[in-house]
């Protein structure tokens, strides 16, 4: 199916625009491909794929542990911590593991060398296969400070080199999104055809421009009438890769976690055509770059 080494991220400014819908269906139709779910706080893709023989790997971060026998109560660590993850209780530091950002500062700066670091599990990466798609999902445990280490782990996993990769990103434009798109070759921005959608689109648009990522837009839940998202793209000269109509059947399939392109010929055609357009853009971009 064209450039096999395509690494494509799917983003949106806000939740609910259709990232998972697009990334799941495109991966499914690509046959042998890789689907990576970086939305670690709320991963949904695996609900659609239901992969078999799921293997799990824990993701850990380093958390400080205070050796009370060596600690002299100087409070250097407590006063240093920029995140207030250390409190000083009964003359000893107390670590709030869920607030800690694992910077290693307290251990490094302790004058008595009383702090060492343990590995703490903050989540896991699950991998399995479904319909020829390698499904890789990052899941963050409730209450943890940051999902970035999980995304790093996910994206460092070895995948067969000649398969297209679809990365389902977290919504927004925060640091975890930036981490998710770091090494991609192309970004699909999913937007809704409302003034809200345009506002949210412009944020991820700024992000992909900042990172100089080739990109294109898919407009989801299209209806008749004014389409501010389309107008925005035309104005900014952003390629429109395709539109997905608002369709109650699609909504129903999606809300039941069914892969639309598998359940219905109509959607198979729709997403198939979108996939073709995306791959053409990706190939065009790669040719332009080389």
């Amino acid at each position: 199916m064209g450039d096999k080494s395509a690494r494509i991220a799917v983003l949106s400014g806000k939740g609910g625009a259709g990232k998972t819908l697009v990334s799941v269906n495109l991966a499914f139709l690509s046959g042998e491909s890789v689907y990576i779910d970086c939305d670690v706080e709320d991963p949904n893709g695996h609900l659609f794929f239901k992969p078999d023989e799921v293997s799990k790997e824990a993701v850990t971060v380093k958390i400080p542990v205070v050796d009370e026998s060596l600690c002299n109560g100087c409070r250097t660590c407590v006063d240093f911590c920029k995140f207030d993850a250390l409190a000083f209780i009964k003359n000893r530091p107390y670590v709030f593991e869920n607030i800690c950002h694992s910077c290693g500062g307290c251990a490094l700066l302790c004058p008595e060398k009383a702090i060492w670091e343990k590995d703490k599990v903050i989540g896991e990466v699950q991998s399995g296969v479904s319909h020829d798609v390698i499904v890789s999902t990052g899941i963050m445990n409730i209450g943890e400070a940051s999902g970035v280490p999980i995304v790093k782990h996910l994206l460092n996993k070895d995948v067969p080199k000649d398969l297209p990769v679809f990365i389902d990103c977290p919504p927004g434009s925060s640091c975890i999104v930036m981490e998710s798109i770091r090494d991609v070759g192309f970004c699909i921005l999913v937007a809704e055809p409302t003034i809200f959608g345009v506002h949210n689109l412009s944020m991820v648009y700024d992000l992909v421009k900042l990172f100089a990522k080739p990109h294109g837009v898919v407009i989801n839940k299209c209806l008749f009438g004014k389409n501010p998202a389309e107008e925005f793209c035309i104005e900014k000269n952003i390629p429109i890769l395709g539109g997905i109509p608002f369709d109650p059947e699609l909504g129903a399939l999606n809300s039941d976690a069914k892969i639309a392109a598998r359940e219905s010929e109509r959607f198979r055609e729709l997403f198939g055509s979108l996939l073709e357009t995306v791959m053409k853009e990706v190939r065009h971009e790669t040719t332009v770059d080389s």
Binding site: K14, C103, L108, V148, P193, L207
Partner: protein
Amino acid sequence: MKQLLILSGKGGTGKTTIASAFIALSDAKAYADCDVDAPNLHLIMAQDLEPERTDYYGMPKAEIDTDKCTECGLCKETCRFDAISKDENFTVDFFACEGCGVCEAICPANAISLKPTVSGELMLYVDSDRVFSTAQLRMGSGNSGLLVTEVKKRMKTAARPDADLAIIDGSPGIGCPVIASISGVDMVLVVAEPSVSGISDMERIIKTAETFHTKICVCINKHDINPANTGRIEEFCRERGLPLAGKIPFDPEAVTAVNNGQTIVDIDCPSGSAVKEVFRNTMELLFA
């Protein structure tokens, strides 16, 4: 002044559409948008106005003074976030830097310092008798409970003493910004969406809101896209003793209204009629 907060666990459920309808129906004199990552309320409520803008300073980030830098590379080696790299000079990646201060502490040449950074912007719209407080967090910024608190505080301070109702459009999720938005409100309206992920997010937000002992009610948006799931939500509310303020159907005309900068009660449409019922029930509970 009674404060009503509108929340959902998940993004895209229709909080802003419903919040704007409520503002129109109640003629509320004070409102705020606490979804500082992706604020949308101003697109309906304040299109033609110019707000008072204030910079918001978030987590300070590291900056390397290249004049003092001896290029020993210790900072790059020690940084846990891969935020320091060397091209021509050693530089800090603004977006990767988490402001932990380790590099500043260990630099042998004292060449690194943490500097306050503008990580967002606060906006206050003041009209003859109403105030609207909102903010936008810059991209790459982390969580911000402080910014949300600031948005609410400004709304309260600027509101006229005779304002009896404030409507707050909340942020998605259940983390620190949401906690900051729930703090001090009189009632939370949870907007639920009948999808598998929407239901689990709704359950989490309700559990979080319950620990605040504020009044809670639930409404179901786009209920007809999946009647079975809608039934599940209704069952959940019944079991937990949560009042259901009403149901709103999916309505393409809602999109048209919003795209024209109008609320769904400014035009004649099914979602507009349904939201009036939800509004009536919510107000009854709030002022009971």
